[in-house]
Symmetry: C2
């Protein structure tokens, strides 16, 4: 029996109809993130988008992402780290009993400051399944990037980095917006210069100003500066990570982002494995299968 | 003979009528930064604001700040570091010969990336004059903070940090804006927690996300989070500086900012000297006096 998987984010969502063997039969995207759903409007939006897929009375759906946040459909309390797939499955909560269930996010803590993810946990377990990597660093670039430590198929812990959001803020709203062209394609050389600069210890608050002066002195074009700034930020992120050349690194995300991280990791002589949306569906399938196998079936 | 000093910034300007002995006789502020002056409009705006002060035919005026930038009245090429007051005076350029002159900014370079300041150089030389400190670190907090190394009355070099701009971007335009109240007064304890957290090495891109989760878990109020975020940023800036407890530190700026830097420096057992706008007028007076003494008088 096939099932429906939905990754319901802040600004958009993706859904897939997946068969028993984990094959994706159909896929849908919609700009209906949780911020665009009015209070109490989740059942109607869900029905509008996936009503046809849910027509069979025994069709089930597993939702992950921000739909489980306080501003979402139903709040699914975070599952604490360390956590394996079984721990996550045990905390899946019911939206429509026996039919629609919500995957909780994960939480971790550093120096008594909490950290959270919602949705990425499904991708991580999916990526373990697809790659067979059960010990390594899983990196999920995005607005709020996640660096995840995995040992023995368990998520030991993770850190969030606001890299994607900082890039957007700096390129669009800061003084740098006057000299940076964020629509320009990746310039690998300028990107590498940014990554290298971030290793020199001046810190991001200082280095970012260099993206202003290099424009002011016409040493880089607006197109180059976009890649340079991206390199500064991704480099900054990399230099705070405990990575060595033997680290097994798995990148999960959109190619436009994973390409950049792969380039930056090259400088550390690390060749990552790279996955995209398939990690989400593989993770949902693994969780769905685990839930089917429990006595309670879907909660 | 008294003279007019103007510190003409990006979004506003300040002017003072200063007598031979350096006493400020009158002071004016106006929201007429260079971004608000139409092309070719500088003479008219200057006349409107300072025409009465300039009425005596031999009254002179020294302008510093962004009025000397490419978008300003006339571009004054930067003076390279190291530079002392005499080097700066030698590069003052003429706007109206013998009457109105422009102070150039300073430029420095790190790893072949240029750095620049315009206006702060006058405050630095003024602060040396007022405090007698000729060796130390001069810190000028603001949108783009300057950390300046001074040895033997010379500006050896400096670094710019976009701390003020990052704070505004994060508090007003990022996801943190939902849980941070930037209008709240300083909460010294939350600020100190932010400074302490920045020393733990996670990096700003990670630590900033803590200002989100501490709100999400209701561990800090929006008012506390504003100070915490400020502490994270100022702490990040401090930890990239080569400072020790013997460093002579001079803070120059608005009390709302210098108070925060003094608090953060306290954690390093450094008690800074603190100056405000008086540094600008003292620096302008010193430069004006130096220019009067040259053969060329004002350029």
């Amino acid at each position: 029996m096939s099932f429906v998987a939905v990754d319901w984010g802040t600004s958009s969502l993706r859904g897939a109809l997946i068969d028993d063997a984990g094959r994706v039969l159909d896929e849908r995207h919609a700009p209906r993130g949780i911020l665009g759903v009015p209070a109490g409007g989740f059942p109607a939006v869900f029905d509008e988008l996936f009503g046809d897929w849910m027509a069979p009375a025994d069709r089930r759906c597993l939702i992950s992402g921000m739909a489980g946040s306080r501003q979402g459909w139903i709040e699914a309390p975070y599952c604490p780290c360390p956590a394996d797939a079984a721990a996550l499955a045990a905390r899946v909560i019911s939206v429509v009993p026996g039919r629609i269930a919500l995957v909780p996010g994960l939480t971790d803590s550093h120096d008594d400051v909490p950290d959270v993810m919602r949705g990425e946990e499904v991708q991580i377990f999916g990526a373990m399944h697809l790659t067979g990597v059960t010990d390594g660093v899983f990196v999920l670039p995005g607005t709020h990037n996640k660096w995840v430590q995995v040992r023995g198929s368990r998520v030991l812990g993770f850190r969030t980095f606001m890299t994607g959001e900082f890039y957007a803020l700096l390129a669009q709203h800061s003084i740098l917006s006057r000299t940076v062209d964020p629509a320009a394609p990746l310039d690998a050389e300028a990107f590498a210069q940014g990554v290298a600069r971030s290793a020199h210890g001046g810190g991001l608050l200082h280095n970012a100003f260099g993206a202003r002066t290099l424009g002011l002195f016409e040493r880089m074009s607006p197109a180059q500066l976009a890649s340079y700034l991206s390199g500064l930020l991704i480099g900054e992120e990399l230099h705070t990570q405990p990575l060595d050349a033997h680290a097994e690194v798995v990148l999960i995300g959109a190619p436009a982002l994973t390409t950049r991280y792969a380039l930056a990791l090259e400088g550390l002589r690390i060749t990552p494995r790279v996955l995209g949306a398939e990690a989400t569906w593989a993770g949902a399938h693994a969780l769905h299968t685990a839930l089917q196998g429990t006595d309670a079936a879907y909660p």
